[in-house]
């Protein structure tokens, strides 16, 4: 039930708190999502959506850092032993 799906904000529709809405794209499918929990997110940002509500703005830099760290470890592992 706590599953949430990442989607990209295509355009903001309404910034008014209780009814804040934006159009969000999920793998080519666009859906209206509620945005009260991510008022600072901007078009082009990715958000995590659960039960029709964006619950957080995805931290792109942090996501990149984790993958980069893993890739670095992989390179180290694959270096031939001198």
């Amino acid at each position: 039930m706590c599953l949430a799906v990442p989607g990209k904000i295509v355009r903001w529709i309404n910034h008014q708190a209780t009814f804040a809405r934006a159009e969000v794209e999920f793998a080519g499918i666009r859906r209206m999502c509620h945005m009260a929990c991510v008022p600072d997110a901007v078009e082009g940002d990715y958000v995590l959506v659960h039960a029709g509500i964006a619950i957080t703005r995805i931290d792109a830099e942090e996501a990149q850092r984790v993958l980069k760290d893993l890739a670095t470890l992989n390179d180290v592992d694959e270096e031939p032993v001198p």
Binding site: M1, C2, L3, A4, V5, P6, K8, T18, F19, F26, A27, H34, A36, C37, V38, P39, Y46, L48, H50, A51, G52, I53, I55, T56, I58, D59, A60, E62, A63, V66, L67, L70, L73, N74, D77
Partner: protein, 376 residues
């Protein structure tokens, strides 16, 4: 899909498995709290890959599974009343009450409507002023902001025909109940990532210190899960009972303050009965006094009492508390299947019994080579 596919890369998962195997000096017992994590683990074959190295106990993090039978019975009763439309998430449809499920109530002519979001129930209330729309509000901290927003929207729109049957639960008190049990074997927690997206990590510090148990906030994809396991093992091996966040792309230390503000505007913390656990102190949320006119339990009189459930056939209480694995239940896969479930964990897309039923035939190596790790 961006932010999903990268965390399902088989070569990254294999690399992490190798690192974990190399690091472990004794077989630790970890509990993944959320049912979504249980399904992610079993789907990718991680428990089998780590057999003999790490034991994973499946936690109670399936709101559908812990919703008390009284709430399900009452929802069924309301669905059968003239002029009432009962709305809920699809997961709730097959959950057995003390007599039957919402699915069978619908087959008898009960008005049960599935919605994707609680805000869809607000829209239904607007479109059907002649009907009373009741939303069966289940879910953890992740879901509660959505139902709180439904209340705020209905109030602003002046809707008189929407009410909530609130069965929201909070994760942390259940983790504490597990740690307090005399037969508790959990040595480290993988905390539920999306609950922490809302609630943050700060409140775990005290729990970790008091029970000397490391807690690692963990995501749901195979790479996320393995990063959580690796971090938890590192903490256990070094004897550090502290809190770490391995899901930082979606979880800030303080959580989401906007969501927390919406929650505190609508709900208060309350004791709650959990199916399989009994009453959990501070284990749920209730509507604040100023919103109680949205409470379905106040708006409608309950007419039928729940029947006592014969628990001898279904061991779901033991499964939810992590005392037994689903396959240890004598009814598993025979008298109890997803099509004809005896207990809620066999129904829900997050229930541990359903996870074993769907994914158990895969051995670890098969799962890693041909499962969703590679294809999804």
């Amino acid at each position: 899909m961006k932010y999903v596919d990268e965390y399902r890369e088989p070569h990254l998962a294999r690399q992490l498995l190798t690192e974990i195997r190399a690091k472990v000096v004794k077989p630790w017992v970890l509990m993944e709290v959320c049912g979504g994590q249980t399904h992610g683990l079993l789907r990718s074959g991680i428990p089998q890959e780590l057999e003999g190295v790490i034991e994973l106990i499946h936690g109670p993090g399936c709101p559908v599974c812990v919703t008390p039978v009284e709430a399900i019975d009452f929802a069924q009763e309301l669905a059968l009343r003239p002029g009432v439309m009962l709305t809920t998430f699809g997961d709730m449809l097959r959950v057995p009450g003390s007599r039957e499920s919402l699915l069978s109530v619908r087959a008898q002519g009960g008005n049960v409507r599935l919605v994707y979001s609680p805000l869809d129930a607000v829209e239904l209330a607007r479109q059907h002023p002649e009907q009373q729309i009741v939303f069966l509000a289940v879910g953890f901290e992740t879901t509660a902001p959505a139902t709180a927003l439904a209340v705020l929207q209905a109030a602003q729109l002046g809707l008189q025909n929407l009410s909530l049957l609130v069965a929201h639960v909070r994760v942390q008190p259940a983790m504490e109940a597990i740690l307090q049990a005399a037969d508790c074997r959990v040595q480290g927690f993988l905390a539920a990532g999306h609950v922490c997206t809302i609630a943050g990590c700060d409140s775990y510090e005290e729990l970790a210190a008091r029970y000397q148990v490391p807690i690692v906030v963990t995501g749901f994809e195979p790479v996320d899960l393995l990063l959580g396991i690796k971090e938890c093992v590192q903490l256990l091996e070094s004897g550090s009972a502290c809190v770490r966040n391995q899901y930082q792309r979606n979880v800030r230390q303080e959580g989401n303050p906007h969501a927390q503000q919406i929650l505190s505007e609508v709900y208060v913390v309350a004791d709650r009965t959990w199916r399989g656990f009994g009453t959990v102190a501070a284990g749920g949320l209730s509507l604040r006094p100023e919103w109680q006119h949205f409470d379905a339990e106040r708006r409608f009189q309950r007419c039928t009492a729940a029947l006592p459930i014969d628990s001898s056939e279904c061991r779901s209480g033991d499964v939810l508390a992590g005392r037994i694995r689903p396959i240890a239940c004598p009814s598993f896969g025979t008298r109890c299947t997803p099509q004809s479930p005896l207990g809620a964990p066999m129904v829900s897309s997050e229930g541990a019994c359903a996870a074993y039923y769907r994914h158990r035939p895969l051995t670890g190596t098969q799962a890693l080579s041909n499962s969703e790790l590679g294809t999804l």
